[in-house]
């Protein structure tokens, strides 16, 4: 942590970011293909709270309350959740290159989602299957990377590549055998990521999972600090490293699985956003986790605004986050190299 980080009191920074997130969410409710005047949006929101008489076309109410609101909340939760999960994973793995996508959780969860679409109708199977396969992928990566006592960075990333490739191949197999008219479109949409089918129903499935697992991660943020010191140091401080690691991993996998159920695979958020947060508050997870979550939420809401509002056709959000995330990550990488500094 540098002096610069101490210059601004954390509570002030957190307050500003929270206000920013709320502002971005409200602003996004006024954005979209269907024109609804801003003051009308405000009145529609107020009328939903106080059930006043509506003096505007019913389409505008359904645009704001049934289409935009669940979608904005969905991208808020998914963005916040993924960034939080990414920050926690980077702490536990002591590795800045880690994100739900890099260590195979996204591919595993995506495959679970594809299996759920192939064999079941409706949403109920998506979260459990995405969770099981996401966890399976993470365990596999973990065991590949933990030949030595301290997990080495390289073998972890390579393990992630291997497991990701394997689950991606399984998903492709699923696409290959899927009924092209009745199952395949859903799987394809899943893999590209999209909030287009957000609804209150979908949100009801995913939101409790993301909120609970996210809150739990937030509550144990101090332990993530200890874990990020390394196994020996953490043990010497009297921590049960194994149990706490698994707790963090289970929470991050749950969050990833729930976002997969919400919007399919949305990459790069969990990898890039924690780095932006680290530039703001340093690597103390007590600050890093909430700041990552708030930044991630705003980031994904804005990305989804582009996805749904820019053209008549929907742009899959996975494409946008990758297009924005990869160069951003490359920039951060270069910047760190120039500084010759460590990541954490």
């Amino acid at each position: 942590m540098t002096e610069r980080h101490r210059a601004v009191p954390f509570s002030l920074l957190a307050g500003v970011l929270l206000a920013l997130t709320v502002a971005v969410a409200l602003f996004s409710l006024a954005i979209g293909r269907f024109p609804v005047p801003v003051e009308r949006v405000a009145r529609i929101l107020l009328s939903a709270l106080f059930s006043t008489e509506a003096s505007w076309p019913p389409q505008e109410t359904s645009v704001v309350l049934l289409i935009r609101l669940p979608r904005v909340l969905g991208s808020l939760l998914a963005g916040g959740g993924l960034a939080l999960a990414g920050a926690a994973l980077q702490g536990v793995f002591r590795n800045p290159l880690v994100g739900p996508q890099i260590i195979g959780v996204s591919s595993g969860a995506g495959f679970g989602g594809a299996v759920a679409i192939l064999f079941f109708d409706g949403l109920f199977a998506v979260i459990p299957l995405a969770f099981v396969f996401g966890l399976l992928a993470m365990v596999a990566v973990w065991s590949l990377g933990s030949g030595e006592r301290e997990e080495s960075l390289l073998s972890l990333v390579l393990g992630g590549v291997v497991i990701s490739a394997f689950f991606t191949a399984l998903t492709s197999l699923g696409q290959y055998v899927a009924d092209p008219y009745n199952k395949l479109p859903a799987i394809v949409m899943w893999l590209m990521g999209s909030f287009a089918s957000s609804s209150w129903e979908r949100l009801l499935f995913a939101a409790p999972v993301i909120c609970c697992a996210g809150t739990l991660l937030h509550l144990i943020r101090f332990r993530i600090n200890v874990l990020s010191l390394g196994q020996e140091e953490a043990e010497s401080l009297g921590m049960n490293v194994r149990r706490n690691r698994w707790l963090v991993l289970a929470c991050t996998t749950l969050i990833t699985a729930a976002t997969v159920a919400l919007a399919g695979i949305v990459g790069w958020v969990g990898l890039v956003v924690p780095h932006m947060a680290r530039m703001l508050v340093g690597s103390d997870h007590r600050k890093l986790l909430p700041v990552s979550a708030l930044l991630g939420a705003s980031y994904l809401i804005l990305m989804d605004d582009i996805a749904r509002g820019l053209t008549a056709a929907e742009i899959p959000i996975g494409i946008l986050t990758a297009l924005a995330g990869a160069p951003l990550f490359a920039f951060l990488l270069k910047k760190r190299q120039r500084k010759g500094g460590a990541w954490m």
């Binding site: 645009v63 049934l66 290959y176 008219y181 009745n182 479109p185 949409m189 287009a196 089918s197």
Partner: protein, 370 residues
């Protein structure tokens, strides 16, 4: 080229078209050589009578069954051709068609397994010509005869029918079918030209609805059909080809009539009516959402029954105007195409009377009173 020819031919008449598009030669003496020019402009020469045909483009299988009036010569097809036969009218007309091999292609693609294809010993394989040459080069390398089709316009479709007529030795039947296609098209063109613009309903066709909302913009067969049937395709201005859109965009377009694809098996108008986010759309408020029929093939893409689809569509777009006698037209068409008569139950199954029952005018347009 085909469009240009098509325009010219409509002026000159329909009699000479076969000479331009397909040339069918009986060489003197042996009487057993077939020569056709396919839609990639390649000359395909087949020695001896054509007994074994494989079709890879999806609507092609049912066209061969229709023009040949039998399933004897079709030995292989796309599995998605078969799903349009299973449980549908063609499985009642040609029950043996269900036994035709369909495992040469898998999934959504059109890349056949060359050796599986060879094991069928086809005299000719019909394949797409405009989705990359890797779809047919391996077949040519393996020594198979391949005729290439192109997709998109009514002129291409007419070319398919002529080619099948030539290959199957059913030129007369093919010419009669083509004549029916052209006459219906001319009739509908005149009819829709007479409808004032303000009375053409805003129409939206969904290629997919359940997983995401894919709609047909300009340069699609569906766009052509909507215009021909006297509607306005709301997606034509902003969408080229097919694209996924969101609910806000649908609300913005506010279609008066929604047409649902025949591909998604379980999709019915009820899915649209039940979507509370689309409640404000005119087509939903007035219950004018219709699922496209599935007859000898799904009626959405170009196929042998396309004129019936136009008649159906012009009826649902303009229920108040003079309309075609669809039951009568279907009876004539099915006699011409398949040599079969439709029972009342078959007719109702094809038109999806049950699925569309909750939609406005449907019973009055096509129900028993008709």
């Amino acid at each position: 080229m085909y469009r240009m020819l098509g325009n010219r031919l409509r002026v000159v008449g329909t009699g000479l078209c076969a000479l331009f598009l397909v040339c069918f030669l009986m060489s003197p003496g042996d009487g057993a050589q077939t020569v056709v020019t396919d839609q990639a402009g390649r000359e395909v020469v087949i020695e001896g009578p054509v007994k074994r045909i494989v079709t890879i483009p999806i609507p092609a299988a049912s066209m061969v069954l229709a023009i040949d009036g039998s399933s004897e010569r079709l030995v292989g097809m796309n599995p998605l051709s078969k799903t349009a036969i299973e449980g549908e009218i063609l499985s009642e007309f040609f029950p043996e068609a269900l036994r035709i091999r369909s495992d040469i292609v898998q999934g959504e693609g059109f890349q056949p397994n060359v050796e599986s294809l060879m094991s069928l010993a086809p005299d000719i394989v019909f394949q797409w010509g405009n989705f990359g040459d890797n779809l047919y080069i391996p077949l040519l390398d393996a020594g198979m005869k391949v005729a290439l089709f192109k997709y998109g316009t009514q002129e291409y479709l007419e070319g398919w029918i002529e080619t099948f007529g030539a290959i199957l030795g059913k030129q007369e039947k093919a010419a009669t079918i083509l004549d029916w296609h052209r006459k219906t098209r001319e009739q509908l063109t005149r009819r829709s030209e007479a409808i004032p613009d303000s009375e053409k309903p805003r129409t939206l066709y969904f290629l997919r609805f359940l997983a995401n909302y894919q709609v047909a913009g300009k340069n699609t067969h569906n766009d052509v059909s909507i215009v021909l049937s006297g509607g306005k395709n709301v997606a034509a201005e902003e969408i080229d080809g097919f694209a996924a859109v969101n609910e806000e965009q649908i609300l913005l377009w506010d279609p008066e009539v929604i047409l649902l694809n025949g591909f998604e098996r379980d999709l019915t108008p009820e899915h649209v009516y039940a979507n509370e986010r689309l409640r404000g759309v005119s087509a939903v408020k007035n219950r004018r959402v219709y699922k496209l029929p599935l007859g000898g093939y799904r009626w959405d893409p170009p196929n042998q029954e396309t004129p019936l689809m136009w008649m159906w569509m012009s009826s649902v777009l303009h229920p108040g105007r003079d309309r075609f006698d669809l039951p009568g037209e279907m009876e004539k068409a099915y006699t011409l195409l398949y040599g079969k008569t439709l029972s009342r139950a078959q007719y109702e199954h094809i038109l999806g009377m049950e699925r569309n029952r909750g939609s406005a005018h449907y019973e009055a347009l096509f129900g028993r009173a008709q």
